[in-house]
């Protein structure tokens, strides 16, 4: 440890590149690992975005022959898998890595080397998945990349229907990355439970940290189920087992249960960190304390429990029978109660505030609007008869892109604009940020709004081409048109990051006049985070120090 420099290198300092690479490759610093996670995840956002754009190009015209069905099926498989496992998870776990120790006044995560191990596992898994393009071809007629959908329904994944090795790369890539996520989850739980600074009781933890704790518990509950299912599938494919091999008595519905027992909590693993970013950004730019902190915590924990009991709402069209369909409809409706509480509490936080329309805040408000719309179509899909019509259609694609792109991606951008200055010491350009914001909202709406209509008009998901007489073409063309705006928005953001790293305004310790502990240290923070471990007396330690005449602690907060 003594050979490592005491502080991260200063911006603009010249050293040989090998030294820089060596320093990053061997680091166990939670902040550097966090940054590496986020950067890798954002690179995969571009990759998956290009895959999505290629699909939109193909679907612009009915009976289009631009992309063959084989390639199209690989595109949607890789797009979904990449967005969930290679973009969503690493960006969110990366931000948790960076922020949680700072927010609770700790010097690092509980297990720094395990933390580094988790990141490198994730990277290995990602490379394995994309290596399939090189490693999987060989057999005549075998796919060059996974083409079984991100949900990999059995028995399409079994040897008779999926020749070659592409499905094996899908299994191994996700499984290895999954072990990385599990180690990070263990680390986050240990850190939040054992490493909090004096005075930081559980009910004084910032909401982001609370939500990351809940996410970590969900990861530890859900990912092992997926891993187990993948091991069974690997046994089927390589060792002649018959878990899901329907040609030898295997059970296709069993895979669906296992996959969605992971898959639905996974949705909350992705969205809860977004809730966390919003719960930090909205109070600071409304200049108000979060409304109803205890209920927000309770709602988060409630979501965790309920999300473990709703998985079969992905299976309403399987024919589980009236009893199970009714039961899972009821539990699914239940999720909307704690989620609604959160939305109302954010609105109440805004209410009567002094709103500052920074780029970060605008993304947070964009999140609120988009997420509400995505949540409402979610309620519609929980109505089983509605789902019988619209399951596996573009309506569902529109629904979850409102939640995960309009919702989560907005929340991620809100978070990136908010904490970029803390991570780098420089502010992102507000002007470019607002351009990105508006382009992205226009792009989202144009691309994902019309998908609801094409779904209602009967267009199923995952089709490589469609008939011209169905009335779907115009809605698909609007969807494709919107992609241009989204590409511009992301390109502008990349340009913003590059230029701001070189010449952005210096941030100082606390550019937003915020209240949680990460703003009490320098930007970027030293490797040990805090020169002296802070002691806190309320949920907003920096409010207390800025307003000694009216501290939160006098309200019991």
């Amino acid at each position: 440890m003594t050979s490592l420099p005491a502080t991260p290198h200063r911006l603009g300092e010249r050293r040989p590149w090998t030294a820089v690479v060596h320093e990053w490759a061997t680091t166990v610093d939670h902040k550097r690992l966090g940054i590496m996670y986020v950067v890798t995840g954002m690179i995969f956002l571009v990759v998956a975005g290009l895959e999505g754009s290629a699909m939109r190009a193909q679907l612009t015209f009915a009976e289009n022959k631009l992309i063959s069905p084989e390639v199209f099926n690989q595109l949607f498989t890789m797009h979904g898998t990449t967005m969930v496992f290679l973009m969503g998870m690493p960006v969110l776990l990366g931000m948790a890595n960076f922020l949680v120790p700072l927010q609770i006044g700790a010097r690092d995560m509980a297990f720094p080397r395990l933390n580094a191990f988790g990141f490198w596992l994730f990277l290995l898994g990602s490379i394995l998945l994309y290596f399939s393009y090189l490693g999987a071809p060989g057999l005549d007629g075998a796919a060059a990349a996974p083409d079984v959908g991100w949900f990999a329904y059995a028995p399409l994944t079994e040897r008779p229907f999926s020749r070659g090795n592409s499905t094996d790369y899908w299994i191994l890539g996700i499984m290895v990355g999954g072990f990385g996520s599990m180690t990070t989850a263990i680390n986050l739980i240990a850190t939040t439970l054992c490493m909090r600074c004096p005075g930081m009781t559980l009910m004084r933890m910032p909401l982001l940290t609370w939500m990351m704790l809940v996410v970590a518990i969900l990861i530890l509950t859900a990912i092992p189920v997926l891993t187990a299912a993948q091991v069974m599938l690997l046994f089927d494919r390589s060792l002649g087992a018959h878990f899901f091999d329907t040609q030898n008595g295997g059970d296709a519905v069993f895979w669906q249960h296992l996959f969605w027992f992971f898959g639905h909590p996974e949705v909350y693993i992705l969205i809860l960190p977004g809730f966390g970013f919003i719960s930090e950004v909205i109070p600071v730019f409304s200049r108000k304390v979060i409304f109803g902190y205890p209920l927000m915590v309770a709602a988060t924990v409630a979501i965790m429990f309920i999300s473990l009991g709703v998985w079969a709402h992905h299976m309403f069209v399987v024919g589980l029978g009236p009893f199970l369909n009714s039961l899972f409809a009821a539990t699914t409706f239940l999720v909307s109660i704690p989620t609604g509480i959160k939305v109302f509490n954010w609105l109440a936080t805004l209410w009567g505030g002094h709103i500052r329309f920074t780029a970060s805040m605008m993304f947070a408000l964009g999140f609120l609007a988009m997420f509400v719309l995505g949540g409402l179509t979610g309620i519609m899909l929980a109505v089983v008869p509605f789902d019988w019509q619209l399951s596996d259609t573009y309506f569902v694609v529109g629904h979850f892109h409102y939640v995960l792109i309009g919702g989560l991606l907005n929340a991620i951008f809100a978070g990136l604009f908010f904490w970029f200055p803390k991570a780098t010491g420089r502010l992102l350009s507000e002007t470019l940020g607002k351009w990105s914001f508006w382009l992205l909202q226009i792009g989202f709406t144009l691309t994902f709004g019309p998908m609801h209509i094409s779904g209602i008009l009967g267009m199923p998901r995952r089709i490589a081409y469609y008939e011209p007489d169905r009335g779907w073409e115009i809605w698909n063309q609007i969807s494709s048109f919107g992609v241009i705006f989204q590409i511009l928005a992301v390109a502008l953001f990349a340009w913003n990051v590059i230029t701001s790293l070189r010449s952005g305004r210096r941030a100082g310790n606390d550019p937003w006049d915020a209240w949680t502990l990460e703003w009490a240290t320098t930007s970027p923070p030293p490797e040990h985070n805090f020169d002296t471990i802070p002691v806190v007396g309320s949920r907003r330690p920096l409010w207390d120090s800025k307003h000694p005449e009216d501290p939160d602690s006098s309200y019991g907060a």
């Binding site: 069905p69 084989e70 083409d147 329904y153 028995p155 399409l156 229907f161 040609q247 008595g249 295997g250 296709a252 519905v253 409304s286 200049r287 108000k288 409304f291 109803g292 209920l295 069209v317 399987v318 024919g319 009714s326 409809a329 409706f333 239940l334 509480i341 509490n345 609105l347 109440a348 805004l350 209410w351 009567g352 505030g353 002094h354 709103i355 500052r356 408000l365 609007a369 509400v372 409402l376 179509t377 309620i379 519609m380 109505v383 089983v384 008869p385 509605f386 019988w388 019509q389 619209l390 596996d392 259609t393 008009l457 009967g458 267009m459 199923p460 089709i463 490589a464 081409y465 009335g471």
Partner: protein, 340 residues
């Protein structure tokens, strides 16, 4: 409890009138869920409008609140830099209100949902229904009418105004049977038998397609239901039950010889000639309107194109090009065109 049930019932009734509003006029899309053509789809449509109404109302309220909060929340001009708004930590009463109200809405929606599930999700064949076995294949549909002794493919012919009970099974991977104007979708899963039902209230052709990703040619696995009146159905089923027609010309005769001597016969059944099971039954193929599970219309030219190179018409499908000579091709086409 009784009161709540009554309320949910009233909400259902109230939506029946909304249902008559034609939002999507027929002709805009032959597969719109808002243009049901039978009770199974109409039941679903009733509740769909109720839910769209409730969620739209919630959306308007929440987004209006968001808009007002943003507009009213603009930082007043001329405020001293350090001035902060009043810090409100929460309110038990207010928070209780926005916990209880959604809970009530959710409870009502659950009751309505359970009601429609009970009405539509039948577990046993209704009395007087016509039983049809649906077998999903990569990437086409096999239809068997066990009571009538009929086996056909890709085009489901049914009598109008009669309940049709479908027993769904798969020969390979999972598929999903979905004709939006007739009924919601139901998955077709290997080693399981799933069921669904529908009834077409008017004669006509109803379209749909496989709704569960099932491999390379998933997009080409189209569905078609032809509802015809009872007399026409009687005539159709008599014709389908008969043994396949013998060739009526010398060239068609040669076509049958080619069909029997090459791989055609090992995949396709023609009653009295061959008993292959991998591909669609061709005993009465010339009575159908389409080829390749809806890929192209049935015509002499298209049959020729299809047999010559099926991959060009439906990429990824399991039928290979057999490399027939033009003479052989002409003969086989002549034979198939006679299988009415």
């Amino acid at each position: 409890m009784v009161g709540v049930c009554a309320v949910s019932h009233l909400m259902l009734l109230a939506t029946v009138s909304i249902d008559n509003l034609e939002v999507c006029t027929p002709g805009v899309s032959p597969t719109s869920i808002f243009h049901p053509a039978g009770p199974a789809a109409t039941h679903l449509n009733d509740v769909i409008w109720l839910v769209v109404g409730v969620t739209a109302a919630i959306g308007v309220v929440v987004l209006t609140l968001l808009g007002v909060a943003i507009v009213k929340g603009r930082r007043p001009a001329g405020l001293s830099p350090g001035a902060e708004p009043t810090q409100v930590f929460g309110s038990n009463q207010v928070e209780l209100a926005w916990t209880v109200v959604p809970t009530v809405i959710v409870f009502l929606l659950t009751l309505v949902t359970v009601r429609v599930i009970r009405d539509v999700d039948l577990t046993e064949m209704p009395d007087g229904a016509l039983r049809v076995q649906v077998i999903g294949h990569q990437w086409w549909w096999e239809y068997r009418y066990p009571e009538l002794g009929i086996v056909t493919a890709n085009e489901l012919v049914v009598p109008v105004g009669r309940k049709i009970w479908l027993e769904l099974e798969s020969a390979d991977v999972s598929h999903s049977w979905w004709v939006p104007r007739l009924a919601g979708k139901r998955d077709v899963i290997p080693n399981y038998q799933t069921n669904t039902w529908f009834q077409a209230d008017a004669t006509g052709t109803y379209l749909g397609q496989c709704a569960e990703y099932c491999g390379t040619a998933h997009a080409g696995m189209l569905l078609r239901v032809d509802a015809i009146d009872a007399a026409a159905f009687e005539a159709w089923s008599t014709a389908q039950r008969s043994t396949a027609a013998d060739p009526s010309s010398a060239v068609a005769m040669r076509g049958r010889a080619v069909f029997e001597s090459l791989a055609c016969a090992s995949c396709h059944t023609v009653s009295g000639v061959s008993d292959g099971l991998f591909g669609p039954d061709l005993s009465h193929v010339a009575s159908r309107a389409t080829l390749g599970s809806g890929a192209i219309d049935f015509s002499e030219d298209n049959v020729r194109r299809w047999i010559d190179n099926p991959q060009a018409i439906k990429p990824g499908c399991n039928m290979p090009s057999l490399g027939l000579t033009p003479d052989e091709l002409t003969a086989v086409v002549a034979y198939l065109m006679g299988l009415r």
